[in-house]
Symmetry: C2
Subunit: 216 residues, 2 copies
DNA sequence: TAGATTGTTAATCGATTAACAATC
DNA sequence: TAGATTGTTAATCGATTAACAATC
């Protein structure tokens, strides 16, 4: 078992997700190669990735699904969720705030803040607080992660307030760069970057004309 | 000027975004080093990235901001938007569908589809069509990109329909793997992967106790 | 001119892929 | 036993960083 690279870490949820989806069908074991095939990855990569989190693989047999699922969930911290608060309860913010699925991924969204809490409260069942309550409430809730879904021009301010209130990681949906002190992680959910890849693929294919023939 | 790697491509929107934000302040030129400083990147990386899209850099002077902005926008295809359709007009889907900002990024969301179009139509001003109209309408609109915001268990089906209707790239927000024919790009907006990084950072810091002291 | 800044070529680093020994 | 499959060590590949020559 070795240190887990960030590339590997990002793939682990995919494996977990797939193995869980096979739990109800026999057999009760699964091989790295079959995971790889289903997800369009190389079997060598899956094997190596799994080796960083699991020691339950047995030659010739593979992994017992339930054991592997438990190992992955444990490693990814899904069994001990982090509490998080959200700043900016607009359309996107509310959609994320209401989304039930995050608890499965170890994220517990316990509060949302908005500059106009009254308006925002009409959009969601869960409580929305005015922005000025953030410093106090965020500390009291012990939030470890801050989710930023405010417009770009207010994002740095929201970020500063969250860091001040003690969060140790920021999940940033605003299309702007955030500056943070050392030790704080910013994870950008960067839609513009994704769009750049999509749009380049489109224009490349127009230029080149023909699709390439490699398998997916 | 060389071939642009996908890593570089993902960073270009960040540079563009920053340079645009400085357009109103003098001087009217900007250096790679100052972009790097503002975004917390290395100046060598920024210089090399910009070299793949721009030939307007002048030693000692840097880049004329307006020229660089135009070069980046052109390269990223912001001047010739792709048309896209969205499948799954739930909370997240509607939030994306209504978001004005995508046109700035070269994406034109022209239609949305939902299995219950009537319900979804109450959530948005823009038109929502029943799923069964997808094949015909998607073709007629000439959509090049399909955005998937349906629940995981319906995502593959939505994907197949989009591919069938002629889209050449999929922007997938459903937490599941999609299989596509060769030549079709799937870009996963993978929240579970992001959460894995965030949650590992949190638990690492608890374990290790002390923050590290590198600059941001 | 001298100094700042670009663009390119070379060196380093990290991640992916390949090879293979261990083993159920 | 033989074959399938794991986990690890070595080789390759790609991306980042460093060095430096060119130049406004």
């Amino acid at each position: 078992m070795q240190e887990t690279s960030s590339q590997t870490l990002k793939r682990l949820p995919l494996y977990l997700n797939y193995v869980k989806s096979t739990l109800n069908s026999p057999p009760d074991t699964i091989s790295a190669a079959s995971i790889a095939l289903a997800l369009g990855k190389s079997h060598i990569q899956v094997r190596k990735d799994l080796a960083t989190v699991s020691s339950s693989g047995r030659p010739k047999i593979g992994y017992v699904k339930t054991v592997l699922v438990a190992e992955l969930e444990r490693y990814l911290g899904y069994d001990s969720p982090s509490s998080a608060v959200l700043v900016g309860a607009g359309r996107l913010g509310c959609a994320l705030y209401e989304y039930q699925g995050f608890t499965d991924y170890g994220l517990n969204l316990v509060a949302a803040f908005d500059i106009d809490a009254e308006r925002a409260q009409k959009e969601t069942q869960k409580p929305v607080f005015p922005l000025k309550k953030l410093p106090d409430l965020c500390k009291r809730l012990g939030a470890q992660i801050g989710v930023i879904t405010v417009p770009a021009q207010h994002a740095q301010q929201a970020c500063d307030a969250l860091v001040q209130a003690g969060v140790r990681a920021i999940w940033n949906f605003a299309p702007t760069h955030l500056s943070v002190p050392p030790g704080i992680l910013v994870q950008n959910e960067d839609m513009a970057s994704s769009l750049a890849l999509l749009s380049k693929h489109i224009s490349k294919n127009i230029q080149g004309g023909q699709y390439d023939e490699q398998q997916a």
